[in-house]
Amino acid sequence: MDVRRDFPVLDKEDLAYLDTAATSLTPRRVLHRMDEYYVNYSANVHRGVYRLSHEATRLYEDARRAVAGFVNADADEIVFTRGASSALNLVAKAYEPEIGPGDEILISELEHHSNLLPWQQLAKRTGATLTYIPLTEEGRITVQALKSVLTRQTKLVAITHVSNVMGYETPVRELSALAHEKGATVIVDAAQSAPHMPLDVRRIDCDFLAFSSHKMLGPTGVGALYGKRRHLERLEPVEYGGDMVEETGLHDATWQKPPLKFETGTPPIAEVIGFGEAVRYLEELGLEAVREHEKQLAEYTLSQLDAMEGITVYNPTTDSGIVTFNIDGVHPHDVVTVLDQEGVSLRAGHHCAQLVMAFLNQTATLRASFYVYNDHSDVDRLVRGLQKARDFFAGFEEGLR
C-alpha cells in the first residue's frame, strides 16, 4: 500500500504516526473536497432554493449515499452525528422511554467509555439492570459468554466490534442473531472496525452501528449512526429544532422522516462532504487490502516485540492493527517522550477504556495502531525507539544500585 504521499503531514514531517486508533491522518483529497465546498458552494443545505444551496444539498446527500454504501445501508438509514460518541448517546437517549426496571442492558468491560457510560447512565436513570458479558481469560467477548447472560429480560446489547485497546474482533454477526432470538436490540460500536475492514450491516444484522469520520481519514466533527429503518421511524428524536421539524405549532410539532428527524440544526456540511470523500478513498484502496495490510504490520510488530527483552504485550492474539504493550518497569508516558524525540507518535494512557485497564491490571499502557499510511519502516523505527527508551531508563537503575 503506497499512499504516504497522499498525506500532507507525512510529506512534511519524517514521522511514524502510530496513533490512528485515536484519530487518523487526513489525505489531501479530503481536505481539498472540503475547501471546495467552502469556496464553491458555501451555503446552507435543505432550505434554500437558490443554486448554491441546492448544490450544497446535493453534495451533502451524495456523501450520505457514499457513507451508506460503505456499510451496505440505505441512505435514509444513515444519521450524521458529531461522532461515534454522539451516535451512541443518541441511541441510548432514544431508547430511554422503552426501558424500565426489570429490563436488562448487556455490555462488556471491553467497551470504550463512549459505549459504556451512555448505557451505564441509562440503566441508572431507568432502573434497568446493567450486566457485563463475562470476558474470556484472553479478554474476548464470545457467543458462549453472551449465552450465559442473555435472558428474555435483555432489551439492549451494546458491544464493541473491535476493541480499541485489545484489537479483538467481536463476532457481532453471531451475537446479533443470538440476541435477536431473545428479542433484544443490538447496538454495535464500529469506531474501530469501520475504518479497517469491509463492513456490511445487512450481514451483521445489527439494529444500530456507530462510527466516526476522523478515525477513517475524514475530518473531525462528524460521525454516522446506522439504524434499521423501522427503529428510526419509531423512535422519537432526541434533539429538536430547525431542519428536523415538519410542522410547528404553539404547543406541539410533527417531525420529518428519518434521517432528518435526528439531524437538528445546520449539520456539519463541509465535514459530511469530507467524510463522503474519505469513504470513497478507502473503497478505492479496498477494505480487504486495508485489513490485510494492517494485520501484516501488527504481526511484524508482535514478532519484533517478542524478540525484545523487557516488553510485555497484552494482546498477542490481536485481530487488527492494534498492539498494546508496556516496557517493564517504565511508565508509558516516559516511553512516549523518548519515542516522540525519535519521530514516533504513540499513545500512552488508559485509552478511554478504564475497565480494560482494570482487566489488564494496569493503570496505563502503550498502544501502537496502524493504518494505510504505515509501513514496515514505521515498525522498525518504533522498535528502535523502544530499545532506546528501555536502555535509557535501565541506565538510571544502574545508578541506583
Partner: protein, 144 residues
C-alpha cells in the same frame, strides 16, 4: 432569458386559475398530503379510482407557481385515464424532469414543465403533486 422556458404561460395560467381545486368530503377519494419542508410547499391530492380508472382528482395547497400549477395540470391530464396509463404518464413526467428520455406525446399539457430540468433547485417543486398522486393510488392498493 431562460426564465421563459421555466415559466410558461400555461403554468402561470393554471397557477392563477387552478382547475379541480378544493377537496371533497367523500370517503371514496383517497387523500395524500405532502409537505416540502425545505421550502414550505404544501400539496394535498385526492383521487377517486373506480374500475381501474382515475375518475376524478382534486387538489389543495399552497406554494410556488410551479408546485401549485402542477397539481392543477396533473388533475386535468390524468383524469379519466386508466390507472396504468396515468402511472405511465407520471413515470414519463419524472423522466422528463430528471433529464432522461421521455415520450412527449404521452404528457399532454404536462410537457410545459420541460424547462424545469434546467433548474435543479425547482425539480422538487414540480414533483411533489405527482408524488402525492402516486401515493393516493398506492394507498388505494393497500386498502384492497
Amino acid at each position: 432569458m431562460k426564465m421563459q422556458n421555466l415559466y410558461r404561460q400555461i403554468i402561470m395560467e393554471h397557477y392563477k386559475r387552478p382547475r379541480n381545486k378544493g377537496l371533497l368530503e367523500d370517503d371514496r377519494y383517497v387523500t395524500e398530503h405532502i409537505r416540502n419542508p425545505s421550502c414550505g410547499d404544501d400539496v394535498t391530492i385526492q383521487t377517486l379510482l373506480a374500475d381501474g380508472v382515475v375518475k376524478d382528482i382534486r387538489h389543495e395547497g399552497s406554494g410556488c407557481s410551479i408546485c401549485c400549477s402542477s397539481a392543477s395540470v396533473l388533475s386535468e391530464v390524468l383524469k379519466d385515464k386508466p390507472l396504468e396509463s396515468a402511472l405511465e404518464v407520471s413515470r414519463q413526467y419524472k423522466g422528463m424532469l430528471t433529464g432522461e428520455d421521455f415520450d412527449a406525446d404521452l404528457l399532454e399539457d404536462a410537457i410545459a414543465y420541460q424547462g424545469v430540468q434546467d433548474f435543479p433547485a425547482r425539480i422538487k417543486c414540480a414533483s411533489i403533486a405527482w408524488q402525492a398522486f402516486e401515493s393516493t393510488v398506492k394507498a388505494g392498493d393497500d386498502d384492497e
